[in-house]
Structure formats: structure tokens, C-alpha cells
């Protein structure tokens, strides 16, 4: 998907056959796709996830051929030389597809040719699972195919088509010297590929180092202090190895064993890569404190499940405290700015993620919805990829003109009037909504405010007390002809006060030592649920 300003407007670029079967096609927005297929789920693209899956499959493909190389996600180059005496190339193709299907990749395609480029084009065959190009015939195979297969930019393809070159054969008929000076290097290198000359060769896979260590204590341990001591030793070794290789840990995986029984396994994602053993130990300690071990353990396995290259950045130069100019600048800037990448913030966020989860620390963001519970959303401060980006803030910008005007109105009002409080009262929800009894006024023409609830509430209960409904707003009116269908809920803001006889009882209660925490005057969000046919207090205005 191509990410736009919001998730809903993100466009589908390519889609699988399963998606096409569900009537999802390239060019649709995410909202449109979800309208035709309710099961569609938005997931952030995780490059490392794809790469690790590819490496895992490549390790197993070595069983089919000794030389296996990985390219962009989903593409492998396998050396198929000398298989004539090992069952033939067809058998190799079958074996490779069988291996890939074990990982769930059941729609794999194979192309077999002398050059890597021709094999890659052959793998795109729509009719065959594997396509074998006759030896020494790569150029002949490529000749009738469209130039769209060439790895050149769209602009260059357009220029070639304007010159009447539509197939790879027509492209190679023109001598290379004609392209020199008229097209860029990508076209020139594509010319070599089209002639069947591709230097790309699969190589022997590079053994990737794994960073993990195991300690078998020999006796049962449950003390946090002892555990931390063991973890400290393990981390010091792992971080030393990482530092020597210029790497940083992105994710830790820790497993606890009791004899041979693995009873606890946890993966801890770090919000910033680190090879600092002290910081990593702090993270592990928080994890152990927030989720304690169920039993004592005899062995620990600690692994760096994800790592990345260490990068260095220039530290920020602190302003000279003696300089009056810089002090004034700080004052004007509004004091210490909350820099998301600063060390205290990183440590703080890591603590909260480890103990309370990723969605604990949030910030409010506007959402283009009308109901009070949907008009804003809580967005985690620590994002999926980079918590410093403000993509979330842009992802749900209001598009309703009325809403925008209202926002501007209150912000300008707020700035211009020094004593003006923000308009409206703050709602505090009851979770779940509190069912209440409601007493109605007698029906009269002037009182009819809603055809679904023709009677106005005159009194209601709240936490065991009867309250007189002093004033109540009209229920919501949603524009767009929504009222032709029955709406699910009607929202009322009600000003309620204790009934006089109850107030007297309360005073008597206070005199007798009983203290009532309920106020005399309250503002509540009263809701009539049309489906359940009941009245609820969804929250109080505080």
C-alpha cells in the first residue's frame, strides 16, 4: 500500500490473488478495500520481518542447491548447474517449490535460464509453475517479450515506446552505440541484460552470526537479585560481541527453563537500538518486575533476536549557561523542550513499555467522527516504527468543514482572551455505562423533542439516589438524513440535582456522621439506547 496522509486514504499498489478474489484491486483506497472485504487488516510494513523470513527460507533451500542468494523480498537466486545427473532440472524445481510450500509460500514460481535476468523473467510465467529456458537461448526467449520487463524507469520506457520499440527484440536490434548519450546508464545496463549477458550469480550463503548465550545454573533459583546478577554476566558478554561487530540490539528474547521444561519465554522490543549492558539490564529488570516468574528456574537462555548496525550521531551542544543571550532564547522558547530522542525520554518510555505495555502512554489526536467517544483517538506515543514521527497526528486530520472551523474558533478565542477557559465541560466516562431508572414528564406537544423518546426525563436515579432533572438538552441531530433511520443512541446532557426530600435526608446523614460523596448539582451524559431500550449514564461532566 502507498501510505498517504491517513491510513484510510492509503492506496493499494499491488495485491495478491486472494485479495483479487475478495474484489480488492490496485488503486483502491484502504477504506474502499475494507468496504468490500471486512476482514482486511492494516499492518505496518516491517522490513526486518520480511528479511528474517527470507533468510530462514534461504537456509533451507541450501538443501536443494549449495549456492543460494537472496535479493529483494521474495526473490532467490539458486545455482541449477549440474543437475542433469541428479534427477534433472524439473526435479530441482519440484523440490524447491515443495520446500517453499512448507513455509506457507504455496504460490511460488521458478524460472530457469542461463542468465539471472532471463530466469527472473521466466519465473513470471502465468501458465506454468516453472519455466525452463532452453540452454543458450536466453536472447531468443526474451526477444518477443515486452520492454516492460526491463529494469528501467517508466520515463525511459515511454521514450522507447515513442520510438517504436515495444519488444526486447526490437530493443536489441538497435546497436548499443545508438543508446549511448541518448539514454541513461540504466538503459545501457538493461541492454546487456536483454542480450542475455548478466553477471549476477548465486553465491555461497554467508553464515550469519547469532548472538545468544545460555547458562545452566545447576540449582533452582528464584531470587531477583541472583537472576539479575546472572543476566548481567550474560549481557556483558553479548554486548561485548555486539560492540566488536559494530552492532546494536533491537530486540531481546529471554527464556527460563526448569530442568528441560521451558516455562517462560518473553520477547522484549527496545524502542531504540542499544549495546549498553546497563541499559539492557535495566530493561530486563523491569520486565521481570512487571511480570514475575511463575516458578524457580535452573537455566536461562538470552538471545539478541534482532540487531542492527550501530550508528553514531553528533551530540547536541548545550548552550552556555553564562551567556545571557542563550538564556533569553531558552525563556522565549518556553523552557526545556521535550526531545523525544533524548536519553531521559528514551529511558522513561522503555520503562513504561516494559511494565505497562506499548499503549499505556498516549496522546490525544483528532478523529473525523461525530460521536463523542469517536471524535478523538488515543495514539500511542511510541509508534510502530518511529515514535518521533508525527504521522499519527496527520493520519486523522479532520475533514469536516464544520469541525475545522470550530477548532479554529476555539483556538483563536483561547489565544485572544487571556482568562477564557476552554469551552465545554470535560466528560469522564463510566466504564461500563451505568443503567439508570428514569421518570418521565407527561407528554405534551411542546415537549416532544425526539420521536423515538417522546417523553422528557423528569427524574432519574444515580448511584441509589433520586435526582430531579433540572434541565436537559435536546438529543443529537446528525445531518445527512440520518434521522430517517432509527439511530442507535440518543445523547442528552442533563443537569440534575438531588430531590429536596433526598437533600434533607443527606443533611440528616451528614449530621449523623454519614458523609455523602455525591454532589447536590451534577451534569451527566444521559443516553437512551434504542437497541436495548434502556437509559444509561455514560459519564459525568467534571
Amino acid at each position: 500500500m502507498q501510505f498517504s496522509s491517513s491510513i484510510g486514504r492509503a492506496k493499494v499498489l499491488v495485491c495478491s490473488r486472494e485479495a483479487e478474489r475478495a474484489n480488492i484491486y490496485p488503486g483502491m483506497t484502504f477504506t474502499e478495500a475494507r468496504a468490500v472485504c471486512s476482514h482486511i487488516v492494516w499492518r505496518e510494513y516491517d522490513d526486518k520481518f520480511y528479511k528474517s523470513a527470507q533468510k530462514k527460507l534461504a537456509r533451507d533451500l541450501i538443501a536443494a542447491s549449495p549456492r543460494v542468494s537472496t535479493r529483494e523480498p521474495g526473490l532467490f537466486y539458486i545455482d541449477a548447474e549440474g543437475f542433469n545427473r541428479l534427477g534433472g532440472e524439473n526435479k530441482l524445481c519440484r523440490d524447491v517449490l515443495k520446500l517453499a510450500s512448507r513455509y506457507g509460500f504455496v504460490d511460488g514460481h521458478i524460472g530457469l535460464a542461463d542468465s539471472a535476468f532471463a530466469a527472473r523473467v521466466a519465473s513470471r510465467s502465468k501458465t506454468k509453475r516453472w519455466y525452463i529456458v532452453t540452454p543458450d537461448c536466453d536472447a531468443i526467449f526474451l526477444s518477443p517479450l515486452s520492454i516492460d520487463f526491463l529494469p528501467v524507469e517508466e520515463e525511459a520506457k515511454g521514450n522507447l515506446k515513442e520510438l517504436g520499440i515495444r519488444t526486447i527484440g526490437q530493443f536489441t536490434e538497435v546497436p548499443l552505440s545508438s543508446y549511448i548519450g541518448r539514454f541513461d546508464n540504466s538503459v545501457l545496463s538493461a541492454y546487456e541484460l536483454a542480450c542475455g549477458r548478466d553477471s549476477t550469480q548465486p553465491v555461497l550463503p554467508i553464515h550469519e552470526k547469532q548472538y545468544h548465550c545460555t547458562i545452566d545454573i545447576g540449582s533452582a533459583t528464584e531470587s531477583l537479585r541472583d537472576t539479575l546478577f546472572i543476566l548481567k554476566t550474560m549481557l556483558e558478554r553479548l554486548t561485548r560481541d555486539l560492540q566488536n561487530d559494530g552492532l546494536c540490539a533491537d530486540e531481546l528474547a529471554i527464556s527460563f527453563f526448569n530442568d528441560n521444561d521451558k516455562f517462560d519465554e518473553r520477547t522484549i522490543r527496545l524502542i531504540r537500538s542499544s549495546n549498553n549492558s546497563k541499559f539492557l539490564l535495566d530493561v530486563l529488570r523491569l520486565s521481570l518486575e512487571s511480570k514475575q516468574l511463575m516458578r524457580e528456574f535452573t537455566a536461562i537462555n538470552l538471545a539478541v533476536s534482532r540487531f542492527s548496525k550501530e550508528y553514531f550521531e553528533q551530540t547536541k551542544v548545550a548552550p552556555n549557561s553564562d551567556s545571557s543571550d542563550s538564556r533569553e532564547e531558552l525563556l522565549l522558547a518556553g523552557g526545556d523542550e521535550l526531545d523525544d530522542s533524548s536519553e531521559p525520554v528514551i529511558l522513561l518510555l522503555q520503562r513504561f513499555i516494559t511494565r505497562l505495555g506499548e499503549e499505556a502512554l498516549v496522546k490525544p489526536v483528532l478523529n473525523d467522527q461525530y460521536l463523542p467517544e469517536l471524535a478523538g483517538v488515543w495514539v500511542p506515543v511510541v509508534g510502530q516504527t518511529n515514535f518521533t514521527s508525527d504521522s499519527y497526528a496527520n493520519s486523522s486530520t479532520p475533514v469536516n468543514e464544520v469541525f475545522v472551523n470550530y477548532t479554529e474558533l476555539i483556538t483563536t478565542k483561547h489565544k485572544s482572551r487571556k482568562d477564557c477557559l476552554m469551552p465545554g465541560l470535560v466528560l469522564k466516562r463510566h466504564m461500563p455505562a451505568m443503567p439508570v431508572f428514569v421518570q418521565f414528564k407527561e407528554k405534551s406537544e411542546s415537549c416532544e423533542v425526539d420521536r423515538h423518546t417522546p417523553f422528557r426525563p423528569a427524574a432519574m436515579t444515580y448511584r441509589g439516589h433520586w435526582y430531579h432533572v433540572n434541565q436537559i438538552t435536546t438529543p443529537e441531530k446528525i445531518s445527512g438524513m440520518w434521522w430517517e433511520k432509527p439511530v442507535r443512541k440518543s445523547y442528552y446532557v442533563a443537569l440534575i440535582e438531588k430531590k429536596p426530600e433526598m437533600a434533607m435526608l443527606s443533611r440528616a446523614g451528614v449530621k449523623s456522621g454519614l458523609r455523602s460523596i455525591l454532589p447536590v448539582l451534577m451534569t451527566v451524559l444521559l443516553v437512551y439506547d434504542h437497541q436495548e431500550r434502556g437509559w444509561f449514564v455514560e459519564g459525568v461532566f467534571d
Binding site: T473, T474, G539, D542
Partner: protein, 267 residues
């Protein structure tokens, strides 16, 4: 001399407009201005930094509304505010105006939620987690104001108050403890410096809906009255809240008058 006095007055005025940043030296070090005149220039002269302030009122008393306005002032002046919502009672739509992503100089407003519904299967002591988080937030020295909303569970022990106070002394933060409590109690809890209590009172302001009928009420806005208790002395305050018609109460735009264009065309 006259010039110095003028600059001092100007700074005071600017401090009043953009609280918390213009008064230098001891004044700015001790107190945190709120932008609400009755609090800043009354007996309390703002909220004391590195101290605990109790913010109390009944469950529906207007205390959070006043606090939200003050948070907006603080964020507008670049102060960072964090709100610990222990029981997930806040609605995002009420608070999203505090985070203006376009203004880089604006302070951050973050909320710490317990996610009670998401973690229903896991048994957690939410109050304990909130208290732990409160201490961590103060110790991090990242936020200028930490608001701890415990709802009706007023169970901060004196021992924990002392821990919070020790953490505050090493930070720059002000801690506000928000409590749903009976405002008739006229004494601050042990360990707190000042107590601001609020309650709804009359007169109640109404705004009529589009029909103009007396039964068609669009908004209800009671007056918020409060009192500041500090050093054994109390002072009453009264704040009014501007009303607005909620977005969902807007109806269709007027039908365009097509006859005008016809008349013009004939002319």
C-alpha cells in the same frame, strides 16, 4: 530606575499572558502560573513547584474542566504536561486541542492510561501502577506538571506522599493530585502544600437550540465555584466556562436561495 520598574511590570504582564516563563529568579523558581487570574494573583499566587497540590471536588464539580484550561495554557507556553488517568475515564476528543502538532514550541500533553478493557484478563493493581508511574514521571525530569487522577480511590499513604515529595525535590515538576472527594472537608491531606476544591453552582447558563423554544436547550453550563486553601487560609474563587454547541448538534446548511440568481438573470 523608572525603566527597570517598567520592564518588571511588562514582565509581570507577559507572565500573566504566557504563564510560567517571564518572571525570573525566585518568583519563577518557586511558583507555576496557571493563567487563571483568581489563582495566580490571589492568596496562592500560582501553584508551587516541587510540591504536591490537591485538586479536589465531587465527581461532577468542574475541577477537571478548570484543570484542562490550565493545561492548555501550560502547553501553549511550552510546558510539558502528563496526566495519569488511572481508570481510563477521559475522552480523547476533550483533550486533543492541547496537542498542536504544527506548533513545535508547544509543550506536549501525554496521558498515561491503564487500558483496563484491553487487559481485562490480566489482574493488575491499577492504582499501584499509577503510583509507580507517577514517581517515575517525576524522577525522569521530563515533565513540568504531573497530574495524578485517582478518582474516588484516595489511597495515597503518608509514606508514599513522602516518597513523592523526595522525588519532587530533585525535579522541576509540580504534582497535582486529582481527587473525587467531598469538598466540604476543609483541610489538605498530609504531605500536600495547597488544596483547591471546586463544585458546580448556580447560576446555570443555557443556550437555546435552533428552534429558539425554551425546551430546546443546546448547552448547559453551570458556574464553577472553588476555594483555595493554603497555609491554613482559604479564599473563594469563581470561574466561568465558555459554552459551545457540539459539532453533532449542527444541522444542515441553509438551502441556497435560487430565486436570487433568476432575478439577477432577468435583470
Amino acid at each position: 530606575m523608572v525603566g527597570a520598574v517598567t520592564v518588571a511590570n511588562l514582565k509581570k504582564e507577559l507572565e500573566h499572558l504566557f504563564p510560567g516563563k517571564w518572571l525570573s529568579g525566585g518568583e519563577v523558581g518557586r511558583t507555576l502560573k496557571t493563567g487563571v487570574e483568581q489563582i495566580d494573583f490571589g492568596r496562592s499566587a500560582g501553584l508551587l513547584k516541587r510540591r504536591v497540590t490537591e485538586w479536589v471536588g465531587n465527581s461532577s464539580s468542574g475541577k477537571t474542566t478548570v484543570l484542562r484550561s490550565i493545561c492548555a495554557n501550560w502547553c501553549a507556553t511550552g510546558l510539558n504536561v502528563v496526566y495519569i488517568d488511572t481508570f481510563d475515564r477521559l475522552l480523547a476528543s476533550d483533550w486533543c486541542f492541547l496537542n498542536n502538532a504544527k506548533d513545535e514550541k508547544q509543550g506536549r500533553f501525554w496521558v498515561l492510561r491503564s487500558n483496563i478493557n484491553a487487559n481485562a484478563a490480566v489482574k493488575r493493581d491499577y492504582v499501584k501502577d499509577s503510583l509507580w508511574a507517577c514517581e517515575q514521571l517525576i524522577r525522569s525530569r521530563v515533565f513540568d506538571v504531573v497530574i495524578l487522577d485517582l478518582g474516588e480511590r484516595n489511597i495515597i499513604t503518608s509514606n508514599f506522599y513522602a516518597r513523592l515529595q523526595r522525588a519532587l525535590e530533585r525535579s522541576k515538576a509540580t504534582l497535582i493530585v486529582l481527587k473525587d472527594d467531598d469538598s466540604s472537608v476543609q483541610s489538605a491531606s498530609w504531605g500536600t502544600n495547597s488544596r483547591l476544591s471546586f463544585n458546580f453552582a448556580r447560576p446555570v447558563h443555557f443556550e437555546l437550540g435552533l428552534t429558539g423554544h425554551s425546551d430546546d436547550i443546546a448547552t448547559i453550563m453551570p458556574t464553577i465555584k472553588g476555594s483555595i486553601l493554603r497555609d491554613g487560609m482559604a479564599e473563594n474563587i469563581e470561574v466561568s466556562v465558555a459554552s459551545y454547541v457540539q459539532n453533532r448538534l449542527f444541522t444542515h446548511p441553509k438551502v441556497p436561495d435560487r430565486s436570487t440568481s433568476k432575478i439577477r438573470a432577468r435583470a
